[in-house]
């Protein structure tokens, strides 16, 4: 893939923004620290054991979860939008997030499970949903991009019916607990959340990057792409699996976070104005969005509870609307 100067500049700027947000998040909160103290604690040179404990055990895992989840969602969104050739194609719409939610709600409403069980169930049901969508959209050994999306929409509809049914018929306390999970949250994340997510992310990213060029070519249609040496079915399957893996990781770690997968790549594409798949820029944009949302959720106005998933919705939606009022052409 050719490196485009503007895209590189945008990526660097996004990374720097993310870093600045990270330092701000580590340093502020009920217990304030200067940036110098933050650095000292991070690199084990601190003289303040309390600061070290807060940073390493509380704030850093939360920060790492936010960054990983945001990056995974941004990248997954870029892949889905390219594969479905639809700016609205995101894991939320194709039913995978709904699938993850079904597992989690089942655990909460029927078995009253703890956080770890809920995460596992979310991951498992997300993967199961994907397998179901892929199998059902197979015809003569090929999925076909368009049929894949439509089957995904159908499965998503069934699952959201089941979810609503569980929420309506379940006990009120469990329904309320499920609502909290559905809002998506970064509270009380520990290294136990971060490490599996980091391993998964590191395993999937190389696959995605290796297939990025073929996926871009696939946007021209299966026939043209295969003349250019792409194997459409194999590329599509690999990329769908990779994107689902990323979505599953993110959902298991933080619940279904709205909008990052949809908005991250869209915003990144507009900033870089490059025809390539906005993989890196989309991932960085997703991470920045989620860090920003976390910063806001930790300091909500009027003392209300604001889980980060809802803050991303508010911020992302507001940004999109603001963009619409400012720009003449979208």
């Amino acid at each position: 893939m050719r490196l485009r100067p503007r895209a590189v500049a945008v990526c660097v700027a996004l990374a720097l923004t993310g870093l600045a947000l990270g330092i701000l998040l580590l340093g502020t909160g009920t217990f304030r620290l200067t940036p110098a103290e933050v650095f000292n604690s991070l690199f084990g040179a601190g003289s303040n054991p309390t600061a070290e404990r807060i940073i390493l055990r509380v704030r850093l895992p939360r920060l790492a979860t936010a960054a990983l989840v945001g990056a995974s969602l941004g990248m997954a969104g870029a892949i889905f939008q390219s594969l479905s050739r639809n700016p609205l194609g995101s894991p939320d719409i194709i039913g995978f997030t709904t699938g993850a939610a079904t597992g989690a709600i089942l655990q909460i409403v029927l078995f009253d499970a703890g956080p770890l069980g809920v995460s596992l169930a979310a991951f498992a049901s997300c993967v199961a949903t994907t397998v179901a969508v892929l199998l059902l959209s197979m015809k003569n050994g090929a999925t076909g991009g368009y049929r894949l999306v439509l089957v995904g929409v159908g499965i998503g509809a069934i699952l959201s019916g089941i979810n609503t049914l569980l929420l309506v018929k379940g006990g009120l306390d469990q329904a309320a607990a499920a609502q909290i999970w559905l809002a998506g949250s970064l509270n009380t994340r520990t290294w136990a959340h971060v490490i599996p997510a980091a391993i998964g992310f590191a395993a999937i990213v190389p696959v995605v990057v290796l297939n990025a060029r073929q996926t871009t070519l696939l946007e021209m249609g299966d026939d043209i792409a295969s003349q250019l040496g792409v194997v459409p079915e194999r590329t599509r399957l690999t990329m769908v699996m990779a994107a689902v893996g990323l979505t599953a990781i993110a959902t298991a770690a933080a619940g279904p976070i709205a909008f990052v997968a949809l908005a991250g790549p869209q915003l990144a594409r507009r900033l870089t104005s490059s025809p390539d798949l906005p993989l890196v820029s989309g991932a960085l944009m997703g991470a920045v969005l989620l860090l920003l949302a976390d910063l806001v959720s930790q300091r909500p106005p009027f003392q209300v509870n604001m889980p980060v998933g809802l803050t991303t919705g508010m911020l992302g939606g507001f940004y999109l609307l603001w963009l619409l009022t400012r720009k003449r052409t979208i």
Binding site: F259, P307, L320
Partner: protein, 348 residues
């Protein structure tokens, strides 16, 4: 439904008029049959003879007559009208956005109605379904107008992406607002809201049906008025202009039509999502993409789907009920997948 065994081979051939006519007649008949079923079936079943008696010789002292006239007739009418509204709105929405995944909810209507309802429950302590209806109506209208202005539908007229993005942005914002209110409100609010959110037709009376009937009449008239223009718009901007369509006017009328129809449907039944998306796809199986045929057929399919969902929801766990919105998803989903696998869906 067509026999459809050679649908794939036929897909490229133009549709003959008789097939469409038969399709239309068959759909109307099915709808009539399902309506009768809807009047007869429920936690208290009524035989056909007595059902006819209700209309021939109404006896207010007969419990069954009372159930049919007071509960099932308005409910059936609301289900049919809401279905018609969703079907037309879905077809128009897919036509103007030229996106087969578009549905009326994209204009922010469902989200606006939901936010208004939860504000009504949390701040004004509403508890009766009939009170939510008006809140939902106002919410849906305000959200629709906001999307319309933010998306500059009157000006761009040719670029659906802007409107869709405005709708998506506003929906997500309002959805988050709803979530935040819900999480910070007492548990009873969650309880009331989750039942409205499921999308149910239970307990709607003639007053709701009346409002809905007016909305559907106006909406259908507008939709049929612009149906020729929608055909041209589907060909794309340049061809549409070349064929003499005033794109701006078509757009404004189409948006107003969708807002009126989907807003009224959502207000009276809660957000019922999938029906407006599936019905146009089903209609395209038996008709050409000509919107003069597609719009009425899509409306009829949606009405059948919603009414069936309501009946099934009444029967499966009687005497309790499952909301029609949930059943519509549970029945419509597998059906949609089966259709997607069986036939090559017509692309827009």
């Amino acid at each position: 439904m067509p026999s459809g065994d050679k649908q794939e081979a036929k897909a490229s051939r133009p549709f003959q008029r008789p097939k469409r006519l038969w399709g239309l007649a068959a759909t109307v008949l099915v709808l009539a049959g399902v309506s009768l079923l809807s009047l007869a079936v429920g936690s208290r079943s009524v035989p056909l003879g007595e059902l006819l008696d209700t209309f021939r010789a109404y006896d207010p002292l007969n419990n069954r007559h009372l159930v049919i006239w007071e509960l099932r007739v308005p409910r059936t009418i609301v289900a049919i009208l809401a279905g018609l509204a969703l079907g037309i709105a879905g077809a128009v929405m897919q036509a103007i956005t030229r996106n087969p995944l578009a549905e009326p909810g994209l204009l922010g209507i469902n989200a606006g109605a939901a936010t208004a309802v939860i504000i009504g429950i949390a701040a004004f302590q509403l508890t009766a379904m009939i009170q939510y209806v008006w809140f939902a109506f106002v919410g849906a209208g305000l959200a629709g107008i906001a999307v319309f202005i933010l998306g500059q539908a009157h000006e761009t007229g040719t670029n659906p992406v802007r409107l869709v993005l405005a709708g998506a942005g506003l929906s997500v914002m309002l959805g988050s607002l709803t979530g935040i209110i819900m999480l910070n409100a007492p548990l009873e609010v969650v309880d009331d809201f989750r039942h409205w959110w499921a999308g149910s037709i239970e307990g709607r009376g003639f007053d709701v049906a009346g409002v809905l009937a007016v909305a559907v009449t106006i909406g259908l008239a507008v939709a049929l008025f612009i149906s020729r223009d929608l055909n041209a718009v589907a060909l794309g901007r340049d061809l549409g202009v070349a064929l003499g369509v005033r794109l701006g006017r078509t757009w404004v009328l189409a948006c107003l039509c969708v807002m009126l129809l989907a807003g009224a449907a959502t207000a009276s039944t809660g957000p019922i999502g999938f029906v407006g998306l599936v019905a146009p796809h089903m209609a395209r199986l038996i008709t050409s993409p000509d919107h003069r045929w597609l719009l009425p057929l899509s409306a009829l399919f949606a009405a059948i789907l919603l009414l069936c969902a309501d009946i099934v929801g009444r029967v499966v766990v009687a005497p309790a009920e499952v909301a029609a919105g949930i059943v519509a998803l549970l029945i419509g989903g597998p059906f949609f997948i089966a259709v997607v696998r069986r036939y090559r869906l017509a692309r827009l």
